[in-house]
């Protein structure tokens, strides 16, 4: 993502008046503000969301959830809470990781892109840094993780029917968690920035 960002910025900002380090700066801001949290969340909605929904859905239609209830277990707490907790706990790591990889990608791209040198890029990504942007991205990613895990759990947990419905529930999980993530992206950006 970082590489693509850098290349596109370089392509669009080919203007003698614009200082070239702005390309690096722009790449950094885009990565921090949007891609590392939102795009990663959307990708994970596809992966984690469908995973959670199909796992819970399978447990539902094979009556494993009923079996848990019979044994006096509060199945919702027992199955869903750990998933939400684990995902919310782990997503900051993924987000920071994606920031680093993205910035590195831009750096690699700067070697072969016309109108951008590695030096300009490094100057760009190291100037005018605002730590709050990282906080902002982390806050967003925490919220997104919660949304993805809970929306997907809901769809899996309340699946009814057979194998076909499990498939459907996991599709719904991905679609709805993506939509809710995008909506909250707007809301959080309005609130935080």
């Amino acid at each position: 993502m970082g590489a693509v960002c850098a290349i596109q910025m370089a392509y669009n900002l080919q203007n003698p008046i614009v200082p070239r380090y702005l390309i690096g700066l722009g790449t950094r801001e885009t990565m921090l503000l949007e891609f590392s949290s939102t795009i990663v969340a959307l990708i994970l909605a596809g992966k984690v969301g469908s995973n959670i929904a199909s796992e819970l859905g399978t447990m539902r239609v094979t009556e494993q959830i009923d079996a848990l209830e019979m044994m006096g277990v509060n199945s919702a707490c027992y199955l869903i809470l750990p998933k939400i907790a684990a995902f919310v706990f782990f997503i900051p790591v993924l987000t920071v990781f994606s920031m680093a990889i993205g910035l590195l990608g831009g750096y690699v791209a700067s070697f072969s892109t016309a109108g951008l040198t590695p030096h300009d890029y490094v100057v760009g990504i190291t100037s005018f840094f605002r730590p709050f942007y990282v906080t902002y991205a982390l806050i967003k990613s925490l919220v997104f993780a919660f949304i993805i895990a809970s929306v997907s759990s809901y769809h899996g947990y309340y699946a009814f029917g057979g194998a076909l419905e499990v498939g459907k529930s996991s599709t719904h999980a991905v679609v709805y968690s993506s939509i809710v993530v995008l909506m909250f992206n707007l809301i959080l950006t309005k609130l935080l920035l």
């Binding site: 094979t62 009556e63 009923d66 079996a67 209830e69 019979m70 044994m71 006096g72 277990v73």
Partner: protein, 251 residues
């Protein structure tokens, strides 16, 4: 003793059970029979409290199950064992862990005690040397038997089996049927078995309840089933042409 009193059950818009009344006695294998989709599973889950009833009541030794709070229900759940249609073993646990699970939830036994009890139950259902296997690695008949072992781990007073021999060959079916019957008599359990298999009906049915499209149409013993005079039941029992011929011959 379990009494089912005028139970009706609706799901949002569809009515599944209409005014069911029945009594289930200890030490007996009570069968609920009926076609697929007639509402046997729903009735069993209402009795076990997995579905709430829309109207009517379920009495356990005279105590109303529907009026109980969560804590009282949990007390009674301790005395219930359930074998679900597909076995419903936990995929990510081994056979042994599956049988140990209810013990972990309801008792204060140590790990060793639990394992010992689990092995006892597994031996009772003739599962040997499969303790460390996962449910996906054993056959359907074995899964059912492990499910039975899990259901009896806590020495239940009530045992519910939902189509314990669906999808099994006739020989394995009989093994499972006899197992259920033996356990019932051995521990004086109130057992309710859902089935649509006529073999089990004749083999183990002490008392039989016939459900047709959510209504109870008939109840009696396996000896009376051929002379019930209820048209829907006759259609169910003599579904195949061969059975009809046998009936003609015996007349």
């Amino acid at each position: 003793m379990i009494e089912v009193k005028n139970v009706c059950k609706e799901f949002s818009d569809v009515k599944v059970l209409y005014d069911i009344c029945a009594e289930f006695l200890p030490g007996k294998t009570n069968l609920t029979i009926g076609q697929s989709g007639s509402g046997k599973t729903v009735l069993l889950k209402c009795i076990a409290g997995l579905h709430s009833v829309t109207s009517g009541d379920i009495l356990y030794d005279g105590r109303s199950f529907c009026a109980m709070n969560e804590k009282q229900r949990k007390e009674i759940r301790k005395e219930m064992g359930m074998v679900f249609q597909g076995g419903a073993l936990f995929d990510s646990n081994t056979v042994e862990e599956n049988v140990m699970f209810p013990l972990e939830m309801f008792t204060r036994m140590t790990f060793e005690e639990r394992r010992e009890r689990a092995n006892e139950c597994l031996k009772r259902v003739n599962i040997i040397n499969a303790n460390k296997k996962y449910p996906s690695e054993i056959s359907g008949g074995m899964q059912k038997r492990v499910a039975i072992a899990r259901a009896i781990a806590l020495n239940p007073k009530y045992l519910y089996c939902d189509e314990p021999n669906s999808g099994l060959d006739p020989v394995t079916s009989i093994v499972i049927d006899n197992l259920i019957k033996d356990i019932t008599v051995e521990y004086n359990i109130t057992t309710i078995v859902n089935t649509h298999d006529m073999n089990s009906v004749m083999e183990i049915g002490d008392k039989i309840i016939f459900i047709y499209k959510g209504r109870k149409k008939w109840e009696g013993t396996s000896a009376e089933i051929f002379s019930s005079g209820v048209k829907e039941l006759d259609d169910f029992v003599f579904a195949s042409e061969r059975m009809k011929k046998i009936r003609e011959m015996s007349k």
